[in-house]
């Protein structure tokens, strides 16, 4: 178990730069997710850490030691691939045994027939069998050991791939979208199992996914990547509630955060849709955007300053999402409500929207978070605007 340091890694394919100086420090035993939309460079970064790809510039350190020039096979990392990449001709047991056979048996020992006659072969093979059985036990796939990958379901293959990764004790586990080929139900179940596995093993996990739910539920920290950069790396709670960048706020959270146009007047006082807020921005006369999570919106009176019509309803049983159209604003505003609110939120109903100004996330025109807000006019007073 070791920590990982990613130090200003850049990577170009021809003229396109896919990683633009990415730095990340991952502590020993930490579970860090790299999350971002497809094409943001997260998989490339993982493959550079693994050694399967060469960085154009920058350095990777594993346990404090630079691995520049060390090939993937010698970096002592385990990887689970999106396609699982199981050897189709080998049984489950043999698949899991491959990393041990390659590392613990010499070239002569691995030969069929002759290998078994080499001195010490018996003991080493017995040790490998034992390790495979233990790994299979951990993942509850002992009954499948004699089958071929072709005879397994997607979920079972995924477990075998995990088994192959954890059969030896690597410095860190690298997982490249391991759940993306599973159906929704199995994904939820396996998500919990991987998180438990991490707690049990206590090893460093680097987990690449485009699914923000996976990242939120499993990680100690989330690194949100976009356009070849890490925008923010923090705990799921902070990334969700206190994002640094408008793109982070938009990417994390489902349904998406509501973004409303705002501006500051000559005195620096913020207003949304022309309605003044008890907040002061850092500079006067700025064009800004404010974000508010759907669950922070409160249903108010129909004659409230910000009001609209319910355009679409999604009742999930435990909660209710309503899309509200506000006159003069192109995008619907999403609102989360308790299911008991359903009668009031029928289609076409006119409702007012309220919120606590403290829950507003303010971003400048460039998308950067504006944190220096002074609630001078109404300090911490809950107010329906």
């Amino acid at each position: 178990m070791s920590g990982l340091q990613i130090d200003t890694i850049t990577k170009s394919f021809g003229a396109t730069e896919v990683l633009k100086g990415v730095s990340l420090e991952i502590g020993a035993g930490e579970f860090v997710s790299l999350v971002g939309p497809s094409g943001c460079g997260k998989s490339t970064l993982l493959r550079i850490v693994a050694g399967l790809e060469q960085a154009t510039a920058g350095d990777i350190r594993i346990g404090g030691r630079s691995v520049a020039g060390i090939r993937a096979a010698d970096r002592n990392l385990s990887m689970v691939f999106q396609s699982y990449a199981l050897y189709p001709h080998l049984s489950v047991a043999d698949n899991i045994a491959v990393p041990l056979r390659m590392r613990q048996l010499g070239g002569w020992h691995r030969l069929p027939l002759i290998g078994g006659l080499m001195p010490g072969a018996r003991d080493r093979r017995a040790a490998i069998r034992q390790a495979v059985a233990a790994a299979a036990d951990t993942l509850e796939i002992s009954a499948l050991l004699d089958r071929k990958p072709g005879q397994l379901s997607g979920g079972q293959r995924q477990r075998v791939a995990l088994g192959r990764a954890l059969v030896r004790e690597p410095a860190a586990f690298l997982l490249d979208e391991p759940l993306s080929n599973l159906d929704a139900k199995l994904r939820v179940q396996t998500r919990a199992e991987i998180a438990q596995l991490h707690r049990r093993l206590g090893t460093t996990f680097v987990y690449v996914t485009h699914d923000q739910v996976e990242a939120m539920t499993m990680s100690d920290r989330i690194a949100v990547m976009m356009d070849g950069r890490i925008l923010q790396c923090a705990s799921p709670d902070i990334v969700y509630n206190d994002p640094d960048d408008i793109r982070v706020a938009e990417f994390i959270g489902s349904p998406k955060i509501n973004l409303l146009p705002a501006e500051s007047d000559g005195a620096g006082r913020l207003s949304v849709f022309g309605h003044g807020l008890p907040l002061h921005g850092p500079a006067p006369n700025q064009v800004l955007q404010v974000g508010i999570r759907p669950e922070r919106l409160i249903v108010g009176d129909a004659d409230a300053p910000i009001a609209g019509h319910v355009a679409h309803l999604e009742n999930l049983g435990s909660e209710l999402f309503a899309q509200v159209r506000i006159a003069g604003f192109n995008h619907p505003v999403t609102l989360r409500a308790e299911p008991e609110m359903a009668p009031a939120l029928h289609l076409g109903a006119r409702i007012g929207l309220g919120f606590d100004p403290a829950h507003l996330l303010v971003f400048d025109a460039g998308g950067k978070r504006v944190r220096r807000l002074s609630p001078q006019a109404a300090p911490r007073r809950k107010e329906t605007v």
């Binding site: 050694g51 090939r71 993937a72 396609s83 990449a85 050897y87 189709p88 491959v98 070239g107 072709g150």
Partner: protein, 327 residues
């Protein structure tokens, strides 16, 4: 009449026909063209050959006599046919492994190339596309005992260090260069060489196609699992993935090797090489059945030939079903 019309017309015309019988009848009608073609061009000729192999029939004769197993007895006892089997099996056992091995090697090398892939692919595939008769003439010139390039090149080595290092060359420097196509010690090996030269490009193309189906991520998985050498990578990933291709390539190569005829006919229009040393089965069928009009014995060789090809095909089916598909 369209298929949609079928049930309705049956209901009105023949109320007795149930939908099930109707469906069965339609199925027979639809498969009939294929069945008839198969019978006419495949099953009937083969049956005729089997029947004729028990007779002494000659083309043009009004009738024939049954001779029982006499034709087959000849095949198994006469020395000419012993030579036929020797030549055929020598050719198959030499050409198949070497052309498959070289095909695989060339495919792996070409696959590892960045540039010039297509150039090499074309070069190795040229002999497959070329007319064999033209190629045979070119080889005849090259292998000509006195003016051929091969012997001239060998003769250039006489009197140099090559001669001392290579006893075979030293012997021929003294005795004169080999006649190649005219020498019964070398004839079948020269035929084998031409067969390999001509055939491995085809296997290479098949292997190149097989290599494209090897999952790239498997190589990365192998690297992560600690595979360091190219040989281990080949053993763990490439070779198993090429299993289905290999079975196909070996089968095709075997059948093509058994079918060898045109090279022999081009090199030796009369006879089948010095001392019948290149008297392969296909040539024997042609000589007995067509040239000498001994249809009975020709049919017997044909039947034996079909048995060999059938055995190879059955082995292939067995391998395909049991071993190389990992589903």
């Amino acid at each position: 009449m369209t298929l949609a019309d079928l049930p309705r017309s049956a209901d009105t015309a023949r109320p007795a026909a149930t939908p099930a019988t109707l469906q069965r009848r339609t199925a027979w009608v639809l498969t009939a063209p294929a069945l008839i073609l198969m019978a006419v061009i495949l099953l009937i000729p083969v049956s005729v050959a089997v029947v004729l192999s028990f007779t002494d029939y000659s083309l043009g004769n009004a009738g024939f006599d049954w001779v029982g197993l006499a034709n087959y007895e000849k095949l198994l006892t006469r020395s000419a046919y012993a030579r036929m089997f020797a030549a055929t099996f020598t050719y198959v056992l030499v050409v198949v492994p070497l052309s498959v091995g070289l095909g695989l090697g060339a495919a792996l090398l070409i696959n590892s190339l960045g540039r010039f892939r297509d150039v090499y692919k074309t070069i190795y595939f040229l002999p497959v596309m070329a007319t064999l008769i033209a190629m045979a003439i070119a080889w005849e010139f090259m292998l000509h005992p006195t003016i051929g390039t091969v012997n001239r090149t060998l003769a250039a080595g006489c009197g140099t260090w090559v001669e001392t290092a290579w006893p075979w060359l030293a012997m021929h420097c003294d005795e004169g260069m080999p006649l190649w196509l005219g020498d019964k010690r070398y004839a079948i090996w020269v035929i084998c060489f031409v067969g390999i030269w001509q055939g491995f490009g085809f296997n290479m193309v098949l292997y190149l196609a097989g290599l494209t189906s090897v999952h790239r991520e498997l190589y990365h998985a192998a690297e992560m699992d600690g595979v360091r050498s190219g040989w281990e990578r080949f053993r763990l990933v490439t070779w198993p993935a090429l299993g289905p291709t290999t079975v196909f390539v070996v089968t095709i190569s075997c059948i093509r090797a058994f079918q060898l005829f045109d090279t022999i006919e081009a090199f030796y229009p009369i006879g089948a090489g010095p001392g019948k040393s290149a008297y392969v089965m296909m040539y024997a069928i042609f000589e007995k059945g067509v040239k000498q009009n001994l249809v009975g014995i020709g049919s017997a060789i044909t039947v034996l030939f079909l048995v060999f090809v059938m055995m190879i095909t059955l082995i292939q089916r067995w391998l395909v079903e049991r071993k190389v598909h990992y589903a």
